[in-house]
Amino acid sequence: MIYETFREAVQNIWSNKFRTFLTMLGIIIGVTAVIVIVGLGNGMTQSIASSFADLGTNIISVQVMGYGSRSVKVEDVYSLVDAHPDLFEAVSPTASINSTVKVGTTSYSNTSVKGVSESYLEMSGYTVRVGRGINYVDLTDNKKICVVGDYISRVAYGGNAVGQTIKIGSEKYTIVGVLEAKVTDTSDQEGSSDDIVLLPYTTALRVSKTSTASSYAVTVTSEDNISEAKTVLENGLQELLNSDEGYMVTSMSEMLDMMTSMVNMVVTILTAIAAISLLVGGIGIMNIMMVSVTERTREIGIRKALGAKERVILGLFVTEAAATSALGGVLGIGLGYLLSALANRILPLVMSDMEMTVSPSLGSVAVAFGISVGIGVLFGYLPAKRAARLNPIEALRYD
């Protein structure tokens, strides 16, 4: 019986191809929109997550602006961190220098220049490919040396940077090491974590004529300890400055969570809007099923005369509505994938500096399909109930 019901539903859909297609449009558009939006959201989340992963999610960043005349010395931060070896792994000042990097006559305005400690390379996941990193001695002696990223080495020195000099602002530095690339696609390296020059923070502080660093990177022993580590840092800084202001402690994982939840919120809102189309599609199905019930009144009468019970007639129309809507769902899923693939080709051309892909999830596909079948059943039920309740005598007389 279920087989016959299903087969007849499919036959009916097939014999009214164009009408069924128009009926399905709302569902197709709705499902497509949901698939693409969810895919876009996934892509954005992944892109954010991967850019944060470059930075390391076990890093806490500390900004110390000072409060009134009080300031925090680099040594104070070190001793705060050293007092809690169970929480903290390492610390490094990150003293940014805004001067432009120059090699010969070429300027590299996107290159970031940071003064760091000997721990920074390991903390940030850099490895030295050629030469050496920054040593403790470099710090104590304020040496005018630096380590450069893969981009600078490749573009400015043709890969042979070690031993060469580089000009930052008005000062010259000797390059002692080149870092392994983090970004594998060389066309995406400009402005990335490979477009970087690292020097001893003591040198950086002296050059920029400041007495203390205003920002630090701190790594924790485990990501689970992040909130505890944050509290320890906040309390320590509060004590040093005797104030609640003048410092800021943020963890990368917190920022990642924040960004992700923002993206999720936007995706949820957009999905809700797309879902309105599903609702409208459902009403369209209900409307056409009403018409179908009227058209097939005589058929319903015949079937009832031949012994069809109410639930048989109900099943016939609900199945047809659900099949129509499920077919719409499948077409919508297909179209959604097609558009996603298309977007993946077009997006890199429009936004060359961002790694973004539209990746529809299997979950969203399953949900979209489930919802479209559900809508068919829901909106098909009322017309089907009307058909099931028809009086067989009147239905048989209907022309």
């Binding site: 015949i302 005369a305 012994g307 069809a308 048989l396």
Partner: protein, 249 residues
């Protein structure tokens, strides 16, 4: 022999605006297994109401109707559907085949509702179509057939469910006289094979093909007896008075 169809003071009243229409007014009759009965009457005589009640498409307002010993008046809509499926085979004036289904699928419909397994269903439907001489057109659609052939399909459909009663509502109404006669012959043949056939018609010349005639007028039975008795075929307007009416006057 117990009665297959048993009407005991069956009434069917409709409210039409201010007037109460008595479509069936205390009709009592019995039809036994194996009979070939024609229910005759002009339009408005109550024969359609009678046919709807016999066919379990409608239930009486008052009185009892027993089909095969079961009281139909107390049944739910789904129970009525089950009874129709099990005990009745309908033959309609307009054939009432489902246009999108092939002939064999049309004949299978009542068997699907009876829950007959597919293989047996196929076999029985094919055999029924064979019996009405359409064994070579199983896959055709109804609109590829003449009216007479379509009516034969509907006879096959009625037969396939092995019903207790074959109920034919003006089966020749849409056919020319030649094919009409063929259909009637087929009904007579079914009767000879032991089926109970109830024929509903307004046409005396068709009614006399039956064994017995029940004539209705204004919701009353005015004649019930041998189809070949002279008083069975009376012109409307000069109806003979029944015993009931004579005693009433």
């Amino acid at each position: 022999m117990s009665a297959l169809i048993e009407f005991d003071h069956v009434c069917k009243y409709y409210q039409m605006g201010d007037t109460l229409v008595k479509a069936a007014d205390h009709i009592s009759m019995q039809i036994n297994k194996g009979e070939f009965v024609a229910i005759v009457g002009q339009s408005g005589s109550g024969k359609s109401t009678c046919m709807n009640i016999i066919g379990c498409l409608d239930v009486p307002t008052a009185g009892t109707y027993k089909l095969n010993g079961r009281d139909v008046g107390r049944m739910s809509r789904d129970e009525l559907a089950e009874i129709r499926n099990e005990l009745l085979g309908f033959i309609f004036q307009q054939y009432n085949l489902l246009p999108k289904l092939s002939l064999i699928e049309n004949v299978e419909v009542p068997l699907v509702y009876a829950g007959v397994p597919r293989g047996e269903r196929r076999r029985r439907a094919a055999a029924a179509l064979e019996r009405v001489g359409l064994g070579d057109k199983l896959r055709n659609k109804p609109n590829q057939l003449s009216g007479g052939q379509q009516q034969r399909v509907s006879i096959a459909r009625a037969l396939a469910g092995r019903p207790a009663v074959i109920l034919a509502d003006e089966p020749t109404g849409a056919l020319d006289s030649h094919t009409g006669r063929e259909v009637l012959k087929m009904l007579q043949e079914l009767h000879r094979q032991g089926n109970t056939v109830v024929l509903i018609t307004h046409d005396n010349s068709i009614a006399v093909q039956a064994q017995r005639i029940i004539r209705l007028e204004d919701g009353h039975v005015v004649y019930d007896g041998d189809a070949h008795a002279p008083e069975a075929v009376v012109q409307p307007g000069c109806a003979i008075r029944t015993e009931q009416e004579e005693s009433a006057s």
